[in-house]
């Protein structure tokens, strides 16, 4: 466990040094504040569109940070040949992978906290309401979802040649899962065989990331989902992240660590 946290701390330090988070945070803040400053019909109480926009930017930004950070972890270590000095210590490849995952996940968790703190300040100053329970649920669910995405990116980084291709493929996959994934069963029923079976199989195989998106509940002021549902979704997310990490480990075990 100590080894894992030592490796995770390295990844955390890397994110702290890189400028990705700062740029995205400032961009989100500027766009949100600019949108919030627009006057519509002299009504200062209008806020939902700002919440909508801010949450969308938070989703995009954290997704970007997760995918890009996770995709370059192993290739960067191999490229710089630091992986050899790392593995020369009493550390297994599995621990390296888990440490990288943990570091990325914790780093994204910190970024999420910063983003949501900004969101809470902006909306709370307008609405004078602080639904902290709802915010905590949204943060947790998004964090679990990002855990799946990070594991998926790590798996991709083992198999694809460059971090850029891993990032692109992961973005396309995540976007596809979020937009089309929930409706694949509807689409499947309209297809002839064997396309129907294939589409339905894909529907059952993919991780349903849309479950972790409770932005609408925050924007429209609906009650939060039940805690037992959140617990079940967390178990589901952990299972998928576990599967992706296991597949990544199986690939990483046999992978040649020489660059190129």
């Amino acid at each position: 466990m100590k080894t894992l946290f030592a490796l995770a701390r390295l990844t955390l330090t890397e994110l702290y040094r890189r400028k990705d988070f700062y740029v995205l945070f400032i961009l989100t803040a500027v766009v949100t504040l600019a949108a919030g400053s627009v006057n519509f019909f002299n009504d200062e109480k209008i806020i939902r569109y700002v919440k909508d926009l801010c949450l969308l930017l938070i989703w995009i930004s954290t997704l970007l940070i997760s995918v890009v950070t996770a995709a370059r972890q192993i290739p960067a270590e191999c490229e710089a040949r630091t992986i050899f000095s790392l593995l020369a210590k009493p550390v297994t490849r599995g621990q390296v992978l888990l440490g990288k995952f943990l570091g990325c996940w914790l780093a994204v968790g910190l970024a999420l906290l910063m983003f949501y703190a900004f969101f809470a300040i902006v909306t709370g100053s307008h609405e004078h309401r602080w639904p902290l329970g709802g915010y905590l649920q949204a943060i947790w669910l998004q964090w679990v979802m990002l855990g799946i995405v990070i594991a998926m990116s790590l798996l991709g980084s083992i198999h694809f040649a460059a971090p850029s291709s891993t990032s692109t493929i992961c973005f396309v996959l995540v976007a596809g899962i979020v937009v089309v994934g929930p409706h694949l069963n509807t689409i499947a029923l309209q297809q002839p065989q064997p396309l129907q079976t294939i589409a339905y199989t894909v529907y059952f195989l993919i991780p349903h990331l849309e479950w972790f998106d409770v932005r609408d509940r925050l924007v429209y002021g609906w009650a939060s989902p039940a805690w037992q549902d959140i617990a079940l979704a967390s178990v589901y997310g952990a299972a998928y992240a576990g599967v992706f990490l296991l597949l990544a480990w199986l690939g990483f075990r046999r992978k040649s660590l020489n660059p190129g």
Partner: protein, 283 residues
Amino acid sequence: MNASPRLFLALVLTICVTLATSLAPRATAWSSRVQSDTVLGMLFGDGRKLFASQFFTMADVYFHSGYYPGIFDRKGKEIHIEEATHDSAGGEAEEMGDFRGPPRDWIEAFGRRFLISEHRHLQHGDEREILPWLKLAADLDPQMIDTYTVGSYWLRQHLRQPLQAEAFLREGLRNNPDSYEILFELGRLYEENLEDPDRARNVWELALRRWQQQPPEAQKENRLGYEEITLHLARLEEKAGNWADALRWLQAAQTMSPAPENLQRQIDALREKLADPASKLLP
């Protein structure tokens, strides 16, 4: 020719600036595109109209507090903020059923626990939340008339902002000077909210003229518009005690009404009033 490169560069720059200043106004005149003075207009060009209807739908999504069918859902999209502006809807949008139907599998069933699954309309002043989308839709497509009439309806009826509604309608009228719909809505604003029957009358009469200036095919399609304008004029004249004018407008409305027998009863009642000399003294 031993000219210095700097001098040559300065000469070329001078020529460029001179040409630019003389050609810019001409180039603007060559272009048939309407010049946009908004940021969105400059960003999207004519393609902005594609986004306008999407933003108009977003206003409806907000009105239903996020409970709204998507392209994959069983029931298609129906705009309810627009329906609510017509008298026939009684000022309330019709209820939206469960457009998702029963879940097909456990994934869908569990996923619905995180989705919005109840239907709730915005109320108690929260209707203001639809306004940014309507304003954006109007900026993106200034020729989309429903945006102005719907925006005005919510501003004047639910948010008690008749002056903002008037400004929005005036903006719409500047962009669509021939629109009888905007003039009709403006008349309603003067009559129902600003209590200015004289301006309402003038605006509705102008709306009627605009309606009559439409091509015959358009008139055939927009019979409801004619009926609404003439009926409102009839009510206005009746309130003012001008029964002869009220009768004239009711008879005009009857020619376009899908239920003329209902209007006949009102016409008969007015005729009785006109025939009774005592009632002529009443305002």
